[in-house]
């Protein structure tokens, strides 16, 4: 099997002006934090999945995200140029320094919540990577090119499950509706650019999220129709803040667990 420890060496940074380099660092960090936090959440299912096949599938997605995380942190460390490592970035920053959107830190809940969270993320992630693989920033494009193949599988998995739960039993439908009502409010943050993202979009280094919207909406509409779920009528207040370091209460606990060893035994090699 393909063992995740065998990663490509960290890519070399290409020449950017210092301000752009800083912005790119923040953006890459945001993507890395996002896949780390979601991968961590999915890994919480390991050994507790609803059926063995889905336990395996969720661990698989978690592993893909973790692999992407490592490439992104390694590249972020290169962009920053301060000698920090992937582990310094993952384990030694406070919650307020994390840049992941709120959606991915939301708890697993029941399987329907996990599926909805994954679907909202995958639909964004896949389409983002598809465009990002053409970024003029070669290292970022390289990471996107590798990860987009995995993201396509993730989107297939979460779309199929959303359809099964929506067009399954009365209970699965009720659970799905509840999960949609809970998590929909976090979807908009994914494609709402921060100032950093907007600046990079202006430079053409990061795709315009508005341009991703039609494909994302078309896919969501198709999946919801198959699931016999009307496009959510409710329009909850769109929660955002994670990408700016303002998180929900959940992230602190996640990081307390994630960072436990590095915090309890500082400066050691594992």
């Amino acid at each position: 099997m393909d063992h995740p420890a065998d990663l490509q060496p960290a890519p070399a940074a290409i020449a950017h002006a210092p301000t752009v380099r800083q912005q790119l660092f923040e953006f890459v960090l945001q993507l890395a934090d996002t896949s780390l936090v979601l991968g961590h959440r999915l890994s919480e299912w390991c050994g507790h999945g609803p059926v063995l096949e889905q336990d395996l599938a969720m661990a698989n997605i978690a592993l893909d995200l973790l692999g992407e995380t490592r490439s992104l942190y390694q590249y972020a460390a290169v962009l920053e140029g301060q000698g920090r490592t992937e582990d310094d970035l993952a384990y030694l920053r406070p919650a307020t320094a994390y840049r992941n959107p709120l959606l991915v830190e939301q708890p697993n809940g029941d399987f329907a919540h996990t599926v909805v969270r994954q679907f909202l993320f995958d639909n964004y992630h896949y389409h983002l990577l598809l465009a990002l693989k053409d970024s003029p920033d070669a290292p970022l494009a390289g990471i996107a090119e590798k990860s987009v193949k995995e993201a396509a599988y993730h989107l297939k998995w979460s779309s199929e499950w959303l359809i099964r739960l929506g067009d399954g039993t009365a209970e699965s439908r009720q659970r799905l509706d509840k999960a949609l009502a809970t998590l929909w409010r976090y979807a908009a943050e994914l494609t709402t650019p921060t100032a950093t993202e907007a600046a990079l979009q202006d430079l053409g280094l990061v795709p315009d999220y508005g341009a991703l919207a039609p494909a994302m909406q078309a896919h969501a509409a198709h999946v919801l129709a198959e699931a016999t779920v009307p496009t959510p009528q409710f329009a909850p207040f769109a929660q955002r803040g994670g990408k700016g370091g303002q998180h929900s209460e959940h992230l602190g606990y996640l990081l307390a667990e994630l960072q436990y060893m590095q915090r309890a035994y500082p400066g050691l090699t594992w």
Partner: protein, 318 residues
Amino acid sequence: METLEKDLSRDDQFQARIDADVRIEPKDWMPDAYRKTLIRQISQHAHSEIVGMLPEGNWITRAPSLKRKAILLAKVQDEAGHGLYLYSAAETLGASRDQMLADLHSGKAKYSSIFNYPTLSWADMGCVGWLVDGAAILNQVPLCRTSYGPYARAMVRVCKEESFHQRQGFEIMQTLCAGAPVQKEMAQEALNRWWWPTLMMFGPKDSESPNTEQSMKWRIKRFTNDELRQKFVDMMVPQAEFLGLTVPDEKAQWNEARQAYDFGEVDWNEFWSVVKGNGLCNHDRLQARVQAHEEGAWVLEAALAHAAKRAAREAVAA
């Protein structure tokens, strides 16, 4: 009378095939007792893989580096995969996964007692890989040549992955032992807890293992419990020394005459007590599996209901 003679001759023919090392395949005739023994052993093995995900799963969210986290997650995922191949191998004998799981959840079917011990520090991830997977490999490598074909073939794949798992466990121990004093202490403390329970993984003493003789005759099993336990000690004592650790057994000494290590007596009271359900984690491990199954039931029902609706729609369209 005629039937009995026919059966006797079938038994003899069966044994002759076993003796000639010809693999038994699902469609071949086999004695009921052979089938039952295999279902018991394979399902027990599958359950051990699935329950075995829990003690290591306990550290996935706390792994100390991204690399360790990825390796540990991949390892626990491999165990889920092993569980799947083994359930499939047992299904070729006519057992259903639902029934096997029901037997696990009711406590009727057993799984390896080693997983009823808690994982209390990161060094336990090292010990589980190095010692527990090490013991599992010794038990399992001979199973690649076991007489039942689907089981033997599943084990070839399982053993390849297990040997990777064991290396990663040893490597965690090596890193700890080459690290700060606090890391080495963590490694020794974990070894102290895991040493004796891993010796118990080979099962009761040969004199108290009622199934061994028949299983050896059927070539389901190829070495006795005590033979494997000795092999394990001979392999692991020098490895512990290499790491700079001490196994918690004063009697573990090289015996020049026997060309093997002597070692102390396993606490068989503890062994039987944990087998009977009194280990620290017996209750929690089983509860975790039952809970996952019960809470997952609606997911499976939804998938089946959806598949049925889809099939009905396609039938109408066609």
